[in-house]
């Protein structure tokens, strides 16, 4: 392994620095200094916009107008990064600030299934709330980076990316090169979490300059750029109405989602990512008679929104689970009981939102949560803590999520640029070693042991004969890359398929076979429980305990699964308690350093208890399902509900993430003033 991107030896490489817009919206006037602008760069647009998606691509460098703070306006280079940054400082740009533009609608998904109106007419109760999911960012510890070299008519692009083949395709489009004239190589990647599953303007610029300058060109992002101008996530508002009976059974749900996708549509996913995934995830683990959802992607003068561990499912599960707790509170029922009464009972089935759930046992998930957590005793502990004046909360979440998205689902969402295929090539060397190349890439999920074990098992090999080699478009078969937990679904299936082909050739040296799979989505599920204590003076919430009962079908590698869940929970807990890419009224970002964008540290995360339930998928060949997002998604529901439950005795109702001390304080203030008003009204 050559190390991470910034560790690569690149003799003679020029280092890039970008001149970025300090305004949320401005006309770009004269640029003086040694900088290259959009016109001089001459890079084309990335192709975006299939069925239902308005194309609104993010240009390599801003053309005429800058549309968010941090947008790259021009580029400079020098022998060292420090000198390049000095140069960038010296460039003067005449900006003429503009008023914000009215939001453009780039995508809309609607669902209207079952007897929604009848249910609302008949229901004994209706509850309506607006939940908001803060704008956040994935924040891998390693920032973005790219190293480009153009030699003998061929472009070699090292990138810290989750999507080598899609990057190759995007760069080929924008630079008008043949895909075969580009080789993408992926070094060690210091975390991705979806952020590195895009083709970024800086990659196009580096590639084009390498071609023009005839020297290697490198760009290493700094953290400020990462916080302002990579991709953000969420920034969704959900107006939700639920119709339910006195027994807590939810009959129908209506939801209106507004997803602020920022200044541009990202490549390859487009602006449809959050609304499309969120829409189908609303109440997806529960039995409804009616569901009506409208989910829109609209632009703003903020950083573009892209992929992030769990994408829209986080918002949907957050709103769904909060609503269920509000229903339980409204009726004086236990939240676990309300979930039991509403959980889907007969799987496989197709939800009203169109999810074709392949397997699972949601009641058993809830039973496990109940028994493993010692739920009754925990509620007694809570009662006792409350008597002592402590703000002690218990939160639950039941959910499913999609993994291994294939071609047809992407096409139906208007996403043309993601092939949706996963592929594996198996080679047998002259020495009889088995080399596995996949279309995926290692980004810290540590999938090699699972691939190796599967190979050894299927071929009946002794350990030590299998090599895994990924992240090189010259030798790996084309496919989708590493996101939406494809590894445990399509990639494993492709490996199995390729191994079967290789087996047919008796693993003779020289064997070279490839198998490509179009996976069908499979749906892992989980029930999580969180315990939170909110400090009664400072209102700082602390996560005290966390239990994840997980069902990701057949488990190929126990350790990897647990690691994914644990890391995912920590991330989701951060999203609920701390993280926010906030903007001021004027479109200026308020979180430009890690002192303003807070992420969980060791003291914030308790030991995560993990329990496994196994409902093999009848769809994926190994019976397995993806697990990379489950921890995060579950925490969006469970941790949020736990904080809300902690402060519920004060009459406070939390609706806006993150649930930090300020929001908690504001909610308590609101509850106190409205109680006083009511008191006054009664008295007077």
């Amino acid at each position: 392994m050559p190390g991470y991107l910034a560790d690569l030896r690149a003799p003679g490489a020029l280092e890039l620095a970008f001149v970025r817009s300090p305004f949320a919206h401005a006309l770009i006037g004269k640029i003086s200094g040694p900088a290259v602008t959009a016109t001089e760069l001459g890079v084309g647009d990335l192709r975006l916009g299939g069925h239902g998606v308005a194309p609104w691509p993010w240009p390599a460098l801003a053309r005429g107008e800058a549309r968010f703070v941090g947008e790259a306006v021009a580029v400079v280079w020098a022998e060292t990064r420090a000198e390049a940054e000095d140069l960038a400082e010296s460039v003067e740009v005449e900006f003429e600030p503009l008023e914000p533009e009215a939001p453009r609608r780039l995508f809309e998904r609607t669902i209207d299934a079952g007897a929604v109106d009848v249910c609302f007419q008949r229901a004994e109760h209706v509850l309506e709330r607006t939940f908001s999911c803060a704008r956040q960012t994935p924040l891998p510890l390693e920032t973005r980076g790219v190293l480009a070299h153009f030699e003998a008519g061929r472009l070699t692009l090292w990138s810290s990316t989750q999507i080598p083949h899609i990057l190759r395709r995007g760069v080929a489009q924008a630079l008008e090169l043949e895909e075969t004239a580009i080789r993408v190589l992926v070094p060690e990647v210091g975390g991705g979490f979806g952020l590195k599953a895009h083709v970024f303007p800086e990659e196009l610029v580096a590639a084009q300059l390498a071609r023009r300058l005839g020297r290697p060109v490198r760009w290493i992002e700094d953290r400020r750029e990462n916080l302002l101008a990579s991709v953000h996530a969420h920034d969704n508002e959900v107006l939700m109405r639920a119709a339910f009976g006195a027994d807590g059974r939810v009959l129908a749900v209506e939801a209106d989602l507004r997803c602020d996708v920022g200044a541009y549509s990202v490549y390859p996913f487009s602006a449809s990512l959050e609304p499309a995934t969120a829409a189908s995830a609303i109440f997806a683990a529960y039995d409804l008679q009616g569901l009506r959802v409208s989910a829109r992607a609209v632009t703003s003068h903020r950083c573009p929104v892209g992929a992030y561990r769990g994408v829209g499912t986080n918002t949907a599960v957050y709103a769904t689970e909060r609503m269920l707790d509000l229903i339980a509170g409204h009726l004086g029922l236990d939240p676990l009981e309300v979930r039991r009464r509403n959980a889907l009972r007969h799987l496989p089935c197709t939800t009203l939102g169109g999810r074709e759930l392949d397997s699972g046992d949601y009641l058993e998930l809830l039973r496990r949560v109940e028994s493993v957590s010692g739920y009754e005793a925990l509620r007694r502990e809570q009662a006792e803590a409350r008597r002592q004046g402590k703000l002690f909360g218990i939160g639950l979440a039941l959910f499913n999520e999609h993994s291994g998205t294939g071609q047809s689902e992407y096409r139906s969402r208007g996403i043309e640029e993601v092939s949706g295929l996963d592929a594996c090539r198996v080679r047998v060397t002259a020495e009889g070693r088995i080399v596995i190349h996949t279309s995926s890439v290692e980004i810290g999920q540590n999938h090699a042991p699972a691939y190796r074990r599967l190979t050894e098992r299927m071929l009946g090999l002794e350990p030590g004969r299998v090599d895994i080699h990924e992240g090189d478009t010259d030798v790996c078969p084309p496919g989708t890359g590493a996101f939406v937990s494809r590894g445990a679904v399509g990639v494993l299936d492709a490996i199995a398929g390729a191994l079967r082909l290789a087996g047919k050739q008796d693993l003779a040296p020289g064997t070279d076979v490839t198998c490509s799979i179009d996976p069908k989505q499979v749906f892992p599920s989980g029930a999580h429980l969180a315990v939170v204590e909110v400090d009664a003076v400072t209102f700082v919430p602390r996560l005290k305990r966390y239990l994840a009962v997980e069902d990701c079908g057949n488990v190929i590698d126990q350790r990897t699964v647990s690691e994914q869940i644990r890391g995912g929970v920590a991330m989701g807990a951060g999203k609920v308690l701390l993280e926010e890419s906030a903007y001021g009224e004027d479109g200026q970002p308020l979180a430009a350093t890690l002192l303003d964008y807070l992420v969980p540290v060791a003291a914030d995360i308790p030991r995560i208890e993990i329990e496994h339930l196994v409902s093999p998928s009848p769809i994926s060949a190994q019976g397995s399902k993806g697990v990379g997002e489950a921890g995060t998604i579950g925490a969006f529901g469970a941790v949020a509900n736990a904080v809300a439950d902690a402060v519920a005795p004060l009459g406070a109702e939390l609706l806006e993430l993150p649930y930090g001390p300020q929001r908690i304080f504001a909610a308590i203030q609101l509850a106190t003033t409205s109680k006083q008003k009511k008191g006054r009204r009664l008295g007077g």
Binding site: G3, Y4, A6, D7, R9, T80, A82, L139, P140, L141, E142, T143, E188, V189, G190, G191, F193, D222, R223, I443, G444, Q445, N446, E563, R566, G567, V569, A570, M571, T593, L594, L595, V599, V601, A602, A603, I605, R607, I608
Partner: protein, 144 residues
């Protein structure tokens, strides 16, 4: 304007001219090719760039190379592989910082107690693991 400095890095002497603004991190990574020390924020928060300066944990992104003049620097390359093995991590980008922070803690007298670890390591961000494997591995070496 360059300044002449000399320091010992992982026990080996290094002397040379550096720009006054050069950070210790950039000296290590760009001039000495010790790329095991990583940069996660370059503004002193994430802890990825932690090294030992005369045995104490220091953020090499906030330390200037000239401040290390005449001192002993230890980086992840100079510490045992077994202290916090690679398998404990996922992407591994945070590892070098944790290794150096952990080494600094293990050199303390008296040793900190295992229960204090989450607070003591709160200056190192890991985005992948949820911290548990790292804390467990280190707790095993400390009094309870």
């Amino acid at each position: 304007m360059n300044v002449e400095i000399s320091l010992a890095v992982n026990g080996r002497e290094w002397a040379g001219e550096v720009e006054p603004r050069l950070t210790l991190a950039d000296l290590l990574r760009d001039h000495l090719a010790l790329t095991g020390t990583h940069l996660g924020c370059e503004h002193g928060v994430c802890g990825a760039c932690t090294v030992l300066l005369d045995g104490q944990a220091a953020r090499s992104c906030l330390t200037l190379a000239v401040q290390a003049d005449g001192r002993q620097v230890t980086t992840v390359e100079g510490l045992s592989e077994d202290l916090l093995p690679r398998e404990l991590f996922q992407c591994g980008f945070c590892r070098s910082g944790f290794v150096c922070s952990a080494e600094a803690l293990l050199r303390r007298e008296p040793l900190p107690r295992a229960v204090e670890l989450p607070e003591l390591l709160a200056g190192n961000i890991c985005r992948c693991t949820g911290y548990e494997p790292i804390l467990d591995a280190l707790s095993a070496r400390l009094p309870g």
